[in-house]
Amino acid sequence: MLKVEGITKYYGDFLAVDHLSFEVKPGEIFGLLGVNGAGKTTTFRMIMGLLEPSDGRITLNGKPIDYSVTDEIGFLTEERSLLTKLTVREQCIYYGTLKGMNKELIETRLKELLERFEIPEYIDKPIKQLSKGNQQKVQFITAIINEPKLLILDEPFSGLDPFNVELFKQEIKRMSEAGSMIIFSSHRMEHVELFCKKLVIMLHGKPVIEGYLQDIKEQFRKKNIFLKADIDIDLLKKIDGVVSIEERADEYEIKIRDNEVVDQVFSVVAKKGKHVTKFVVEEPSLNEIFVAKVGEEYDK
């Protein structure tokens, strides 16, 4: 288990991370979210042992993270961390060996992963000759070649088309099912929502939302009602607790203050509405929660 306990990091007088704590258990995918400059990269660097926390501690399976355990960690950086003059094979042997793997094992794993990512023909191509998406695949392969127990993915879908995003998703799920702990960072909330059961949203180095996604959604009182019916919208707007109504192509999205407003809206729809074909109450999306919460804190 990865345990992050009250870590704080100062750069001079600047507080980059402020008392951040979380745990990631084997098989869990944990989301570390935040706007640019929130402290995500600094947190990743501290987990990787590249930076010493000013305070707090990080342990992997009870051991502090140092060079004795880094062979069990995989790291995919947000920027390309490939040496582009090398070929795919050379690059994977380079990073694989630094993860303590011998050449034969790297070659075996590499062939398997290249097949899985559908680029076996690029094995001896210089990385600089590959497209951005294929470079991202190679970078992902270098991060998982050692079958890490802890995998850190900083913006893994950057530069990928939807088809390749699917390939990555499958691989991340496969690794999670195999017991890897995965920390995931992305600006694409739908991806985070899809993978992560637990998450923390950071702002100015501080966690502003943290916990299980389901709990976070439940705690977030605002809900959405999706309605398909012929009805005078002004009647709904007059209900106390209706925040906004947005007209979509063939339906309305009604944002309400909390669950208690649902009955009032339903009552009006039942009485005044005609041809009602859809009345669905949904949890807010993570994106909404993110924008609402981070926006609140951002303005402070």
Binding site: M48, T70, F75, L82, L86, L98, M101, K103
Partner: protein, 463 residues
């Protein structure tokens, strides 16, 4: 990943990878082909010039019309031969006499001198037809003993002009002495060279070594010229690699698996291994260049340059300096190797501070200038013999690699001083490792030049 497999040694893997990234490139191959071509051409430059042809090798013909009754033609012929020989062997004027005498015997005259009796008009015709034909007319003159007319189709070259004019002046002097009725025995004394007995009071110094040290002060800087080239390769290799890893963020992956210390030393060892390989290749290229010379020169490795090189080698052998090479070469090599280490450590530290290769190139300029200063001082060391300033600089790390061996060769440094210079470089290396590593650890993960010096000073203080 299974744990029972034998794990690779990450440090030596990094060293090997670094070396491979430099050597296994088409640019390394191309650069070495060009270096080999340049060395082979330089060692065979005379053959190369001859291969392209030209009239530089043709002998000049001098027709002498002697209208005096004083055997001026015979005297001129002797003086011309003497002057020509002296100029050709000028480089070896400080070489031992026996060696010089042998050399003079081997020198072939550049001129064909003939007495011309078919009249001035015919001689002028010959000169007009061929610009390698000159005509000299000697006439008696009451005031100046002889009057000389020199006829040529074109301007005379600098050397021809110097040789012919000097020979004419010597001829005039010889004719004048002959006319003054001085006995032959006295004439021989006048013409014989003044004898100088050289006495050096220091026990450990010999007159033979005096001349040799003068030659070596010129030869040695040329011998150590490759040191520069290798230093340049070394600094650039380390700078480019560290920056490549930094700019691609590959450094984060690398440093999350091996410590900055291991990374630092791997770069240093790989860089030094690379230049040792490159240095060995330079020696091989030089040997191959000599082999080509032997093949072109019909078995004589010195070929057309034999007189100059042969004289120098003879002088070195006789003076006993070759015996001193037993300690000069090892001391120079040790000093160079520890200095290469110093340069590589400095290059690694500076590269870690920069965020791109352009910044590093600017930062490496002062290092190269320091090295260049050492080289010029090595050349000037003999000119300013005994200069305390140059001797002090001979101990300064980075400069000492070139300067101290030069001072050793010309006798201004002894073994003790060179050993001190080596110790000083080793101490510098220790300090560079101790304090530089602190900068390196912070620098390699720093991607911003904002507040750079503040960050580095803080790192230096170990905070």
């Amino acid at each position: 990943m299974t744990n029972n497999e034998k794990k690779p040694n990450k440090f030596w893997f990094l060293v090997g990878m670094s070396l491979k990234r430099k050597i296994k490139t088409k640019w390394f191959l191309l650069a070495n082909i060009l270096i080999f071509a340049a060395i082979a051409c330089a060692l065979n430059i005379d053959h190369l010039i001859e291969a392209f042809g030209g009239d530089f090798n043709e002998k000049e013909t001098i027709y002498v019309i002697d209208q005096t009754d004083m055997n001026t033609y015979e005297i001129f012929e002797q003086q011309l031969q003497l002057t020509n020989t002296t100029l050709q062997t000028e480089d070896q004027s400080k070489v031992l006499e026996e060696s010089r005498a042998e050399t003079e015997e081997q020198v072939e005259s550049d001129y064909i001198v003939e007495e011309f009796t078919e009249g001035l008009e015919k001689a002028e015709e010959l000169a007009e037809e061929d610009d390698k034909v000159y005509v000299i007319v000697f006439e008696e003159d009451e005031e100046n003993i002889i009057k000389t007319t020199l006829i040529s189709k074109d301007y005379l070259g600098t050397t021809d002009s110097q040789v012919i004019n000097q020979a004419i002046n010597s001829t005039k002097m010889a004719v004048a002495i002959a006319n003054s009725n001085i006995p032959v025995s006295e004439l021989e004394k006048i013409y014989s060279e003044a004898e100088v007995e050289r006495v050096i009071l220091s026990d450990d110094k010999t007159p033979q070594a005096e001349g040799t040290s003068m030659i070596m002060s010129t030869v040695f800087p040329v011998v150590i010229l490759p040191f520069f080239m290798l230093t340049l390769f070394l600094v650039q290799m380390i700078g480019a690699e560290v920056n490549d890893e930094k700019t691609t963020r590959g450094m984060e992956i690398i440093i999350s698996n091996v410590s900055p210390k291991q990374h630092f030393f791997s770069k240093m060892i790989a860089g030094n291994a690379f230049i040792l390989i490159q240095g060995a290749l330079l020696i091989i290229y030089a040997i191959l260049g000599v082999v080509i010379r032997v093949l072109l020169g019909g078995g004589n490795p010195l070929g057309g340059m034999g007189n100059s090189f042969g004289g120098v080698l003879d002088a070195l052998t006789v003076s006993g300096i070759l015996d001193k090479l037993i300690y000069i070469i090892p001391l120079t090599l040790i000093l160079m190797i520890v200095t290469f280490v110093a340069y590589s450590l400095l290059a690694g530290i500076l590269a870690s501070m920069t965020t791109n290769i352009e910044d590093f190139q600017q930062l490496q300029t002062p290092i190269m200038i320091i090295s260049l200063v050492g080289y010029y001082l090595a050349i000037l060391a003999n000119v300013f013999g005994g200069s305390i300033f140059i001797k002090i600089l001979g101990f300064v790390p980075l400069i000492s690699a070139i300067l101290a061996p030069s001072l050793l060769v010309i006798g201004q440094f002894g073994i003790f001083e060179v050993v001190i210079a080596i110790i000083l470089v080793i101490i510098t290396n220790f300090l560079l490792i101790h304090y530089g590593l602190r900068i390196y650890k912070v620098g390699i993960l720093n991607y911003s030049s904002e507040g750079l010096w503040k960050k580095m000073l803080k790192a230096l203080r170990g905070k």
